[in-house]
């Protein structure tokens, strides 16, 4: 018993640097952000005075009334939705083709995955040049020029400089979504491919012999088996999209009328550009809760399975 006790102490001692730093850097700082979001530190002078004037949830209420933040929430919703759908559709399609081991499949697989190794900052820089190079013009050249040269003028439009809006969806986001899908669809492909390789081929052959079409094999066999993997991919991608700060920052910024703004960009500007510390912290906490809503049910579920 004594020995056991000593062992626990040694274990704790090994873990203690991690426990202490994470306690401060994760739990301490989140608590501090919550605290600041409840104060009225929205000017530099009130921040310097460090007055503890609690204003309750006023910063949050103000935030949800603001046009910019409302736009941000719509943008996040649509960006996340289309980003995930795009990555799933392309990733699954490619994994199904590559799972048949076509000649040169390995080459294509590696090619589709390389954007995963690149920074969002690089992705943003390149795609900005592709869609609307130079100082933002009224009529972005770039890929429009390519369409013109190929005689495909119908595909020309304003890309991320466009202020068009459809049911709350700022169509300028399409350009950002293309860049994000370019970077992450290889990820879904790799996840699906890893899963497909584990499926017993006899199962599929048997179904084919029984007359199932390829589409039926996909919807009735493959998709149900791959559901947990698909779910994991969705969680990770949703998580990525909430963090797409670097991509937006490098590619478009907030854009005209905040058409490509997201809460993470607003948080950064409020905190570090305009000294609205309480508003910035409130946005940060809203972001944290959005991630929580997404992650906690998933984690509870996977711990139960374990």
């Amino acid at each position: 018993m004594k020995r056991k006790h000593k062992e626990s102490l040694t274990s704790l001692a090994i873990l203690s640097p991690s426990i202490i730093t994470l306690a401060v850097f994760v739990y301490g700082f989140i608590s501090r952000s919550v605290q600041i979001s409840l104060l009225d530190w929205d000017t530099f002078s009130s921040f310097m005075r460090k007055a503890k004037d609690y204003v309750g949830l006023e910063n949050y209420a103000g935030l949800f009334r603001e046009a910019r933040f409302q736009t941000d929430l719509w943008n996040t919703l649509y960006f996340t939705l289309f980003f995930i759908l795009g990555c799933l559709a392309i990733g699954i399609l490619l994994s199904l083709i590559l799972n048949n081991k076509p000649k040169g499949g390995y080459f294509f697989q590696n090619l589709y995955l390389f954007p995963m190794a690149i920074s969002f900052v690089v992705t943003g820089t390149v795609w900005r040049w592709i869609f609307a190079p130079g100082r933002l013009p009224d009529n972005p050249r770039g890929i429009n020029l390519l369409f013109e040269q190929l005689g495909l003028d119908v595909f020309q439009w304003g890309w991320f400089t466009s202020t068009g809006n459809f049911l709350g969806f700022n169509i300028a986001l399409v350009a950002v979504i293309i860049a994000a899908v370019w970077q992450y669809s290889g990820y879904t492909m790799a996840m699906w491919l890893a899963g497909l390789r584990g499926i017993d081929q006899q199962l599929i052959e048997a179904a084919r012999i029984d007359g199932a079409s390829k589409w039926q094999v996909f919807t009735k066999i493959l998709f149900p088996i791959q559901k947990p993997i698909t779910l994991s991919a969705i969680i990770v991608l949703a998580h990525v999209s909430l963090k797409a700060f670097a991509l937006i920052y490098a590619m478009t910024g907030s854009g005209p009328n905040n058409v490509t703004d997201i809460p993470a960009v607003y948080m950064f500007e409020a905190t570090f550009r305009s000294n609205r510390y309480s508003t910035g912290s409130a946005i940060a906490i809203v972001l944290l809760m959005m991630v929580g809503l997404l992650i906690i049910p998933y984690l509870v579920n996977s711990f139960k399975e374990e």
Partner: protein, 275 residues
């Protein structure tokens, strides 16, 4: 194993594969062709054309501007990767083979740090770094990346060590080995593949990271990702320089991917799927 496919089906499959290959390569084409043009040749009107003659003007200038930042990134990434991997390995070892009352809860609490959006700690973090005098320095950024890297590295090593039979630890204990010697002689040597995966994962993530880098550094200590976005901020955007800069930024992690692709994919899957 392959089903019999008609020629038509084969053609469709390859058409899809090639179409996507083009989509994935467009940015690479633009990057390379623009970066190899001279400043006088860079024009929006010819952006889709290959350069008339190869010019390394853009690369030369980008490298002159970015060399200090490339060094900063290496000074940051190497220690941060090593430290977070070693600490994660020790944590994972203890949390899988030296469990104690409450250790599973502790693991869950550590893991939580992996899922938070870093905005939720950002402002207090900046203030804290200013207070302890590490704001605007590479050591400060190393500390931040080690701490926020711990949840994922701990998870990866714990999952790896969990497959090592408990009997092995028990037998070593009977022979009088202690917690440290068992790690050094048994667990550390068998976890080299796992270290490779974690190294690559951390190297790529920390090299590519932007939010902490932009919030916690000054002009002296900026890593390459921040310096690249600042290249765009100057009055006349020299696109050949900027595209060269983007290539310089992407090159180290791309090389890692090309050389260690298999481990990279392992890390990517391990980072997202449990077990």
């Amino acid at each position: 194993m392959d089903e019999k496919m008609t020629t038509q089906e084969k053609i469709i499959r390859y058409a899809i594969l090639i179409a996507f290959a083009i989509f994935f390569l467009i940015p690479m084409y633009v990057l390379l062709s623009t970066s190899l043009k001279s400043f006088s040749e860079v024009s929006i009107n010819t952006m889709w054309q290959l350069p008339d003659s190869l010019s390394f003007e853009g690369f030369r200038e980008a490298f002159t501007k970015l060399a200090p930042n490339v060094l900063n990134s290496f000074y940051l990434v190497i220690p941060a990767t090593l430290l977070s991997a070693i600490m994660g390995s020790m944590n994972g070892y203890v949390l899988s083979h030296w469990k104690f009352k409450g250790s599973d809860t502790l693991f869950a609490l550590i893991l939580f740090g992996m899922f938070i959006p870093y905005q939720s700690v950002l402002f207090p973090l900046v203030q804290f770094m200013q207070t302890i005098g590490l704001y605007g320095s590479i050591p400060g950024l190393i500390l931040v990346h080690v701490v926020y890297g711990l949840p994922i590295t701990t998870l990866m090593f714990r999952n790896y060590y969990q497959d090592v039979p408990e009997a092995l630890t028990e037998a070593a204990k009977v022979d009088g080995a202690n917690i440290f010697s068992i790690y050094r002689h048994i667990f550390f040597p068998i976890s080299i593949p796992s270290f490779v995966v974690v190294f690559i994962w951390q190297f790529t993530n920390i090299w590519n990271e932007f939010l902490f880098a932009v919030s916690l550094t000054d002009t002296q200590s900026q890593p390459i990702t921040v310096a690249l976005t600042n290249l765009a901020g100057s009055q006349v955007v020299e696109w050949n320089v900027q595209m060269s800069g983007a290539i310089i930024t992407a090159l180290p992690t791309l090389l890692v991917y090309i050389i260690f692709g298999r481990y990279f994919i392992k890390g990517m899957l391990a980072g997202s799927v449990k077990g």
